[in-house]
Symmetry: C3
Subunit: 206 residues, 3 copies
Amino acid sequence: MNLDAINLGFALGLLDQIGVLVFAVSGGIVAVRAKMDPLGVLVLSFLPALGGGTLRDLILDAPVFWLSDSRYLLMVMFGAILAWIFGTRVEDFKPIRWADAVGLALFAVAGTAKAIGLGHSITIAVIMGGVTASAGGLLRDVVAGREPMLLKQDIYATAALLGGLGYALSDRAGLSFELSTLIGFSLAFTLRACAIRFGWSLPQAK
Amino acid sequence: MNLDAINLGFALGLLDQIGVLVFAVSGGIVAVRAKMDPLGVLVLSFLPALGGGTLRDLILDAPVFWLSDSRYLLMVMFGAILAWIFGTRVEDFKPIRWADAVGLALFAVAGTAKAIGLGHSITIAVIMGGVTASAGGLLRDVVAGREPMLLKQDIYATAALLGGLGYALSDRAGLSFELSTLIGFSLAFTLRACAIRFGWSLPQAK
Amino acid sequence: MNLDAINLGFALGLLDQIGVLVFAVSGGIVAVRAKMDPLGVLVLSFLPALGGGTLRDLILDAPVFWLSDSRYLLMVMFGAILAWIFGTRVEDFKPIRWADAVGLALFAVAGTAKAIGLGHSITIAVIMGGVTASAGGLLRDVVAGREPMLLKQDIYATAALLGGLGYALSDRAGLSFELSTLIGFSLAFTLRACAIRFGWSLPQAK
């Protein structure tokens, strides 16, 4: 691993951790609202925050990322505590949706970048970005017995796939990691933001 | 890997891909009927088509098969498109059940053969045939919030286990790959066909 | 691997198998009561008995433990048969809850010990104890379409985490494997027993 790879690893790790905190808080709030106990809040903080990346690492046969870096688990615990304290006081769901959109865009880029770093094709990398960004939320919904947002609601995983594709193509075109990340993040966040703000959704089969 | 192993790998790959297309279509039709958007159709095509084999490969610590062979993902996408176009026009569920029975038998044999090829015992191999054939459908049902067909409905995974056992014993008896596959496929398909046609089912506990 | 490691492996294997039988019976009884067929009983025996340990091994990238030791699958089959025969005759749920508490404590210690043996930190090891003890039951509930006990009910995974922590700290303090196991088991079982007997539970968010 050369110096560039180390910097890239550091930058990806930082992105991952911001996303982890955001997703942990939003998962924990679901648990708090459902009147779960602290362990339930912790589990529902864990699933969206680390579940998607765990599945990605299992499929790619990479070491599961949070085993060797305790900051991820600390972020989950911190997010669960924030959700526990503030979860019932937040009257309005909107801030959560926007924080979730930031996490979605961050995870999509981080997941795509990790798969590319492991030598996988653009197709596989973009799918892994989608898995990283949305599989954790799917697990959260399935475990909490809610209808999976992923399957019915407006553009969600689609935004992750677009962001991942933007990153992957920018990277392939020779742009820097920073610029590729910015492009991928912006694409995913903008599409998701439009879906939230303007009610965009994909068409159903007729 | 010698020449025989390569031919065996090729034949298994072909079987896998036919099964993948069939399962992707049947999963996609579930999504189309539930009025999901294209991304939901893609996810519900993916789960039964590649989910069981993915779980098999994770448990056996083999490289996940669709990472290195993009034809599988193309098949899923093709199956999802077919489901999207024709899903609401198919009035009768029966053709889907028969196509599903073909996929079940193909996956049972392919999963068993892969585990044997990796040096596992007949017991493990037959279980892996069952996992390959039925875990994907279980994931589809759990994610779609439907009652898992696997647990209550008539003979399904049982047919996969019988087919896997037929393949494994034929292989152990020294029969060729082609003949063993034919025997395993016929056993699984016939038992499943009888379950569909004559309403066969296993007894419940009294 | 030296002699001590072999003895430790043997002792852990024995613990694991007692826990497997207990969990298989309790899972099978859920299936029998829900009028599932024998295959459904087998699947619902398998999930709590081997599901948690399987997830632990996948995350730790260790060989899945029941692939190389057929006694585990025999135990699951034996437990499923016991559940099939006696499942509808047991009028009272209470013995199952106590057997489940024994399994919980055994799995928590065995899972923690395995992760420590693989060189992981106490934090990771304790989490893996919790995963081993409670993820299988979570899978059982999700697949059976029941509300996950883990998330809402009284102290369950919390007892597993406490037992794992007791084992890990005893082990770190230089106590023998036997004594550490006894301490961890006693802590987990006692806390779970108090939760059952006195209705202890964790507070909900206000």
